[in-house]
């Protein structure tokens, strides 16, 4: 047995002889920050799953490192003017790992699976608007929608909208989540839950230039110091995610580099607008003026982040800058006085009890004290908070005044940020509108942008929505945290994305 064969080797190590295993240059090992749940992105909400599965299962459309759309299994796509018909031209000559041909029928099998709401898959809701999937010829797929949905192209690019081999879907059924078979540059080899996930090179990949590594091994490592140790002892060549406070120790070690990109997650402290004091726009503006966002980024993210200048992040599609956030305590105090709250009031701020969450809460508490607001901060264990916020929430009875949260639009499109967080239909517990913000102009603009597939018309509508939200300030905008990772120097093609996923298909060593 391997275990015993290695015992002798270990004994030698124990005796202190300094052996070290030379790394095989063509293998890649990666430490991820979370455990893998399911290798079926159709049924997962987790970035770690999307990231690892992306080597095996490809999408029609992918994102480049700035969240711009790039062709993957589709070579071109277009939407009709009424945003109800979307046509995709498929790549020819592609085969799944099990030998099945990739064609329109294969895509239809997957899209039908996503559209079938009775399956109760985690991502079925993405395809709720889909009426039927048509295949006019072997390499064309047409999505017909029940109602206009201008954000459909970005929805198809969502990291969960992958194409499984139709044969595997049939053979394994729901168990496909343990046996992913796709068209990607890597084949699924082995998965020991909680320990490792191994992919190996697909020799027949359609893009003959790739892949350039023979094997990729993922380790789920939830303890961040352990991830850094694994990198620095060359057990892995890439770690995702690197906590900001450990960036210095990686950089000073030499031979390793820190990768940093602005994310698309915008952190906010929502103000419960069903409470009297937050109905007053002056109070909400005063809160935004009282908080020094630059200092927030320094305290909470050790400076590894940026201050938002719009409700959505710069790398989100249709972003438009609304000008910098100002900090002005005098003006904030004046506004509070004008609103009749010169002596402030008492509020409860809810957040999570991890170290970042507690720092956020304490910082806000201190900043708001400058305008005489006495904040009672309530850090909660993750599962408890999620129960209180999402499962037992009745908006009118909500006990919080402010609620910390961060939203990342996983489709990379403005719709999936503005609608869940600022539209009336997004009020928690339904989606993520934690301020109970409701504005007709915003709701209409968001809907209008969905009624067309024309990017210019959509841009105009989202411009209106962003302006109105920025003016109304239903939340205190806090920060866009940078997504950080670290890798061994000489490794290229492996990097983290603004949406929190990771790409590794073009991994290569110098």
């Amino acid at each position: 047995m391997k275990f015993f064969k290695r015992a002798a080797f270990s004994a030698a190590l124990f005796a202190g002889s300094m052996l070290s295993i030379p790394a095989v240059a063509a293998d890649l090992s990666i430490a991820m920050d979370q455990i893998f749940q399911k290798m079926d992105p159709h049924n997962s909400n987790y970035n770690v799953d999307y990231s690892a599965a992306s080597g095996v299962l490809e999408r029609l459309i992918g994102f480049d490192k700035n969240m711009k759309l790039v062709p993957q299994l589709a070579t071109s796509w277009e939407g009709s003017d009424d945003a109800k018909t979307f046509t995709f031209k498929l790549r020819e000559g592609v085969k799944f790992h099990d030998g099945t041909d990739f064609n329109a029928a294969a895509v239809k099998a997957n899209f039908d699976r996503l559209a079938d709401q009775s399956r109760n898959l985690a991502k079925n809701s993405l395809f709720k608007v889909v009426d039927k999937v048509e295949t006019p010829d072997d390499y064309t797929v047409v999505l017909k929608l029940k109602e206009p949905f201008g954000a459909m192209i970005n929805t198809v690019a969502h990291p969960s909208v992958v194409i499984h081999s139709p044969k595997a879907l049939e053979e394994f059924g729901k168990d496909v989540e343990k046996h992913p078979v796709g068209t990607g540059p890597f084949k699924f080899k082995e998965w020991i839950p909680g320990e490792r996930l191994v992919l190996e090179k697909n020799e027949d990949y359609w893009d003959s230039e790739w892949p350039k590594v023979d094997k990729v091994t993922f380790y789920p490592v939830t303890e961040s110091s352990t991830r850094v140790s694994m990198l620095l002892s060359d057990e892995v060549q890439f770690i995702h995610i690197l906590p900001a406070e450990l960036a210095d120790s990686v950089e000073s070690s030499g031979g390793y580099e820190v990768l940093e990109v602005p994310g698309i997650t915008v952190w906010t402290a929502s103000m419960n607008m069903l409470k009297d004091h937050f109905k007053d726009e002056r109070v909400r503006r005063a809160f935004n003026l009282a908080v020094d966002q630059q200092a927030f980024v320094g305290v909470v993210y050790s400076g590894h982040g940026v201050v938002p200048d719009s409700p959505i992040a710069p790398d989100t599609r249709f972003y438009e800058s609304q000008g910098p956030l100002k900090t002005d305590i005098e003006e904030a105090r004046r506004l509070m006085k004008e609103a009749g709250y010169e002596d402030g009031f008492d509020i409860a701020i809810w957040g999570v009890n991890n170290s970042t969450g507690v720092r956020m809460l304490q910082f806000l508490q201190q900043q708001l004290s400058q305008i005489n607001v006495r904040a009672d901060i309530v850090p909660m264990e993750g599962a408890t908070r999620s129960e209180k916020v999402f499962s037992s929430m009745v908006p009118e009875k909500a006990e919080f005044d402010m609620l910390l949260g961060g939203w990342s639009p996983s489709t990379g499109d403005a719709d999936w940020h503005l609608r869940p967080v600022y539209a009336t239909e997004g009020w928690i517990p339904k989606i993520y509108n934690m301020a109970f913000y409701s504005n007709e102009t915003v709701d209409e603009a968001i809907q209008e942008a969905l009624n067309t597939a024309d990017p210019e018309k959509r841009r105009e509508a989202y411009s209106v929505a962003q302006k109105q939200i920025w003016k109304d300030a239903p939340v205190v905008w806090l920060a866009i945290e940078n997504k950080m990772a670290a890798r061994k120097k000489g490794l290229s093609g492996v990097f983290q994305m603004p949406d929190g996923t990771m790409q590794f298909t073009h991994a290569a060593y110098e």
Binding site: S10, L13, K38, K123, G194, Y219, V221, T226, S229
Partner: protein
């Protein structure tokens, strides 16, 4: 003696039943909604409801408890909400890594603790005694995640002698078992020291010395043997704790054991897994206690079982 053993074994059944009730009520009383946790923070309410139905979490609590008991009686531990795997498979996979880690940690810490304890007791008040007890207090006080990270930093990153984490080969046991055993070794050392000091005041020790026995025989044969009863009890207790899997040490060393499994299960409110693990820990504890009781007879032949 066999009869006594069997009677004790039978008495475990009602205890385990009571524990099952407690465990079930406790885990379901915790706030937290597994469907929401599985769906993730950014899921819509629709996605959450879809998952709730898919997992049968919409059934009444009492019905869920009856299912749990029925399954338990037939040896079926249920299915994990999070992974869809049978819980028995997950526990079987995680058990051996935790078992090996516990055995290694206990072995070195008992050995070290006994020797350090006896030496300290004999040289009571000497510099060696003070140094030993200083180490023991440090061992108890040092948070083990910190000790683990220090060891990893030094032996894996700096010297490159050992792997940082995971369990692929026997040498991977070294750092986590040192980390895990440090606290136990310290407790054992202090416990042994005071037990030996107590025994050393007894008349029969004076008699042994008066008979002209060599000091070594007096201490190691007569004093230690009689001091062993409380020490063995403590070692058994510690072993029970270790077998439960240390969440902190297993997390730091990426150990694929019961502690890591429990942590993931609690974070996701994976009821079936948490219930099964706590039932397993309870059973282990009960069995270890029984084993310790049986061991007394071998250590001290004066103890009889009825």
């Amino acid at each position: 003696m066999l009869q006594y053993f069997l009677r004790r074994l039978a008495a475990l059944v009602p205890v385990l039943f009571l524990i099952s009730v407690f465990v079930f009520l406790f885990i379901h009383a915790l706030p937290g909604d597994p469907a929401r946790l599985l769906a993730g923070e950014s899921a819509t309410q629709e996605e959450v409801e879809a998952i709730r139905q898919a997992l049968n979490l919409d059934r009444p609590l009492f019905a869920q408890y009856v299912d749990f008991l029925k399954n338990l009686a037939s040896g079926n531990l249920g299915t994990s909400l999070r992974t869809g795997e049978p819980v028995s498979t997950m526990i079987a996979r995680a058990f051996m890594p935790t078992f090996w880690l516990s055995v290694c940690a206990l072995a070195w810490s008992v050995l070290f603790g006994l020797i350090a304890g006896v030496v300290s007791a004999v040289r009571r008040g000497s510099a060696g005694d003070h140094a030993g007890m200083f180490l023991a207090v440090s061992g108890i006080s040092m948070p083990n995640f910190w000790l683990g990270l220090l060891l990893m930093q030094f032996f894996s990153v700096h010297l490159g002698w050992l792997g940082t984490s995971g369990f692929d080969e026997p040498s991977d046991l070294i750092l986590p078992s040192i980390t895990l055993g440090a606290g136990v070794a310290a407790i054992m050392a202090r416990f042994t020291r005071s037990a030996v000091i107590d025994v050393a005041r007894e008349d029969f020790i004076r008699t042994a010395r008066a008979k002209g026995l060599r000091e070594r025989v007096v201490i190691w044969k007569h004093a230690l043997r009689n001091a062993l009863i409380p020490v063995v009890t403590m070692a058994g207790l510690q072993f029970g704790f270790l077998l439960g899997g240390s969440i902190v040490v297993e997390k730091v060393f990426r150990w694929p054991g019961l502690g890591s499994l429990l942590l993931d299960a609690i974070n996701f409110r994976d009821y079936a897994v948490v219930q099964a693990e706590i039932m397993l820990f309870s059973l282990q504890f009960l069995l270890i206690n029984l084993a310790v009781d049986m061991l007394y007879g071998f250590i001290n032949p004066a103890i009889r079982y009825k």
